[in-house]
Amino acid sequence: MRGQALLWHMARAAGATWLIVSVLFLLSHATIDPESQLRDTLENATHPSEAGQRAAATQQLLHRYGLDTPLFYTTWHPQVGWQWHGGQNQYHAWLTQLAHGNLGYSYQADAPVAELLAQALHYTLPLTLLAALLSVSAAVGLTVVLSYRPVGRRWFLRLAHTLQSLPLFLLALGLLLLFANPDALSWFPAFGLSSTAAAEAWQQPGIMLYQLTLPVASLVLSSFPALAIQLDGALQQEFTQPYTATARAKGASQARTAWRHALRNALLPLVTLLTELLPSIVAGSVVVEVIFALPGMGRLIADAALQQDFPVLLGGVGLVAFVRLVAQFMADILYSVLDPRFRIAA
C-alpha cells in the first residue's frame, strides 16, 4: 500500500515536471519570432551586406540553433490543413536532448547551459543555504523561547510584523547604508565577491563568510518573520490543548513543555513551508543578487529572461520546478512519517 502510494506520487511529480517545462518551452518559443530577431541583430551587428547574403546568414544561424524546423509535431496551414512533421521538430529535438542529459547551449554566453547553471549555483548555494539555516533556527529558537514570556513575545511579534512589511530590497539597501558606508559604519564590503585565490586554503571559508554577511543578513531578516509568525500561531494553538495542561500538571517546566511537547506538534505546518523554502534556495534571490552584485542563480535567470536567452531560462526554471517537485514529494513523505493521520488519508 505504502509502496504503491509512493510510486503514484513519483509518477505524478514526474508528469507535472514534464508538463510545466513543456508548457514553458512551447510558450516561450511560440511568443517570439526568432527569425525577425536574428535579422535585427544581423542588421545592427554586421556591415551592410546584400539582402540575399543576410537571408542566408539568418538561415544559417537558425539552423545552428535548431530553430529552422517546425515547433511542434503538428502545425496548421490554411492551404494544406493539418500537417504531421514526425520527429523533425524543435520540441522533439529538445526532448531528446533533455533525455540525454544535455540542457543545450546558451544563445548569449559561449558556454553550455549546464555549465552556466553550475557556476551560478556555486555562488547561490552558500548564500541561500546559510540564510535558510539561520532563518529557520532563529525563527524556531526565538519563538519557542518567547512563547511563554508574554511581554517579550508581544514585542517580538511587533518586530516581526514590522520586518515583514519591509520589502527585501529596502532591507538590503538599509543594511548597505548602515554597515557598508564610509560615512557611517564601514564594516563590510558594499558588493561583490573579491578573489580569494591569494588567501590560504583554510582562510577561504572565513573570507567568504565575511563577504556574504550583509546579503545573508538581509535574506534572513526578510524571511524569518513569516516563519516565526506562523510557528507562534501554531504554538499558541497547541498551548490551548489539554495535553499541555497535563504536562504542566505532572510537573514539567514551562520550557520543557514548550520544547518537548508543544513544539513537536507545532512543527507540522512548518513542513509545508519546506516546499516553499527548498526551491527558493536553488532559485536564489534576484533582488539581493542585483543589489550586492553576486553572480548567482537569480541574476542568471533574470538576465536570461531580459535577453531572451531561452536555453538558459528554460534550464534554470526547469531546475527550480524540478527541485520544487522534489520538495513537495519529500514533504508528502515527511507528513506521513510525522503524523499517522496522513497515512490513513493518503
Binding site: 520589502p167 547604508l177 532559485a283 533582488v287
Partner: protein, 322 residues
C-alpha cells in the same frame, strides 16, 4: 457605529492611508523639471525640503507623484487579483472534480464548434467571428440541452489546482521579469501581469471557504430543494465566503505595493518616466551614501504597508493563524 470604533482603533493607519490617497488625487500631472543647480542636496534645503536626487529631482515632489502610481497600479491590480482568485477558487471548491457534469453530446458539440472556429480564423475576417462565434457556441449548447444521456464530469478542481501549481513552479519575480521583457512597459500591462500572477493565494483561500460552506446542511437542503446553481452561489455561498475576501483585500494591496516597488526598483514594468517610490529608491544606487534617498521613500512604503496590514489584523492583536 462599527466604523467609528474602527476609526478610533486604527486612527493612525487610516489617517496615513487617507493622506496617501489625498496626495495621489492632488499630485500634479506634469513631469517635474530637474533642478540641475541643486544636485544631491540633503534635506532641509531652502528650496527642496526633502532633498534632491543625483539627477536634481525634488524628493518630496517625486514622493507626492509616486503616491498616484501606487494607487493606480496596486488598487486595480488587487481588485482584479481578488476577483480572479474568487472566481477560480470558488468554482474549484463548489464543483470539485465530479459535480459539474456535462452531457456527452453537448461537450462534443462545443468541442467541434471551437475547433471549427479556430479553423475559420484562417479563412474568415475576424469581425465575423465576434458575431458568429457566440451564436454557434450558444446554438450547440442549446442543442445538447435536453439530452438525457451519458454525462462526463469536468474536473474543475484539478484544472485550477494544476494552474496554481504551474504558476507556483516559477519564482514570481522571474516570471514577471520574463514577461515584462517581452511586452513594452505600460501601467496597464503591469496591472494585468500582477493580477495574472498573484491570484493563487486568494483562490486557495476561496476554495477552502467554499468547500467548508458547501458541506453545511443548509446547502444540502438547497440542493435538495432544486434551487438553481447561480442562486445557490449568490445567496447561500457568497455571503459566507465574502468575509474571507474582504479581510484579504488590504493584505493583497500591501503585497502588491511591495511587488510594484520592487519591480520599479529593478527598472522593469512601468515606463521610465512614471514617477514611483521604487524608482526613487533605485536612485540611491548612484549615490550610496545619500541616506535621505532611502529614508524618505522607505518610510512611505513601510508606512503604507504597515497601515494596510494593521487594517486586516483581527481585533485581538496581531497574532493569528491563517
Amino acid at each position: 457605529m462599527i466604523y467609528a470604533a474602527l476609526l478610533r482603533k486604527h486612527w493612525a493607519a487610516i489617517g496615513w492611508l487617507a493622506l496617501v490617497v489625498l496626495a495621489a488625487l492632488s499630485a500634479p500631472t506634469a513631469s517635474p523639471t530637474p533642478d540641475l543647480a541643486n544636485v544631491n542636496q540633503p534635506p532641509f534645503h531652502a528650496l527642496h525640503w526633502l532633498g534632491t536626487t543625483p539627477q536634481g529631482l525634488d524628493v518630496g515632489l517625486s514622493l507626492w507623484q509616486g503616491a498616484r502610481t501606487v494607487l493606480l497600479v496596486s488598487l486595480p491590480a488587487s481588485i482584479l487579483t481578488l476577483l480572479l482568485g474568487a472566481a477560480l477558487g470558488g468554482a474549484a471548491g463548489y464543483w470539485g472534480n465530479t459535480k459539474w457534469r456535462v452531457g456527452r453530446l453537448k461537450l462534443v458539440g462545443v468541442g467541434i464548434t471551437l475547433l471549427l472556429a479556430v479553423a475559420a480564423l484562417f479563412y474568415v475576417p475576424v469581425s465575423w467571428l465576434w458575431l458568429g462565434g457566440p451564436l454557434l457556441l450558444g446554438g450547440s449548447w442549446l442543442l445538447g440541452r435536453n439530452h438525457h444521456g451519458a454525462t462526463w464530469p469536468i474536473p474543475v478542481d484539478s484544472i485550477v489546482m494544476a494552474l496554481i501549481a504551474l504558476l507556483n513552479s516559477i519564482p514570481l519575480l522571474v516570471l514577471v521579469v520574463a514577461t515584462a521583457a517581452v511586452r513594452p512597459p505600460s501601467v496597464g500591462g503591469v496591472v494585468a501581469l500582477l493580477s495574472l500572477t498573484c491570484w493563487p493565494v486568494p483562490a486557495r483561500l476561496m476554495r477552502g471557504a467554499t468547500l467548508q460552506s458547501s458541506k453545511q446542511p443548509y446547502l444540502e437542503a438547497a440542493w435538495a430543494a432544486g434551487i438553481p446553481t447561480h442562486r445557490i452561489l449568490w445567496r447561500h455561498i457568497g455571503p459566507n465566503t465574502l468575509p474571507v475576501l474582504l479581510v484579504r483585500f488590504p493584505l493583497t494591496v500591501a503585497i502588491l505595493i511591495g511587488l510594484e516597488t520592487t519591480l520599479s526598483f529593478l527598472g522593469v514594468g512601468l515606463p521610465a518616466d512614471t514617477p514611483s517610490w521604487g524608482r526613487l529608491l533605485a536612485t540611491v544606487r548612484q549615490a550610496p551614501t545619500n541616506w535621505w534617498l532611502i529614508v524618505c521613500p522607505g518610510l512611505a512604503v513601510v508606512g503604507t504597508v504597515l497601515s494596510l496590514q494593521r487594517l486586516s489584523s483581527p481585533p485581538k492583536g496581531p497574532s493569528h493563524v491563517t
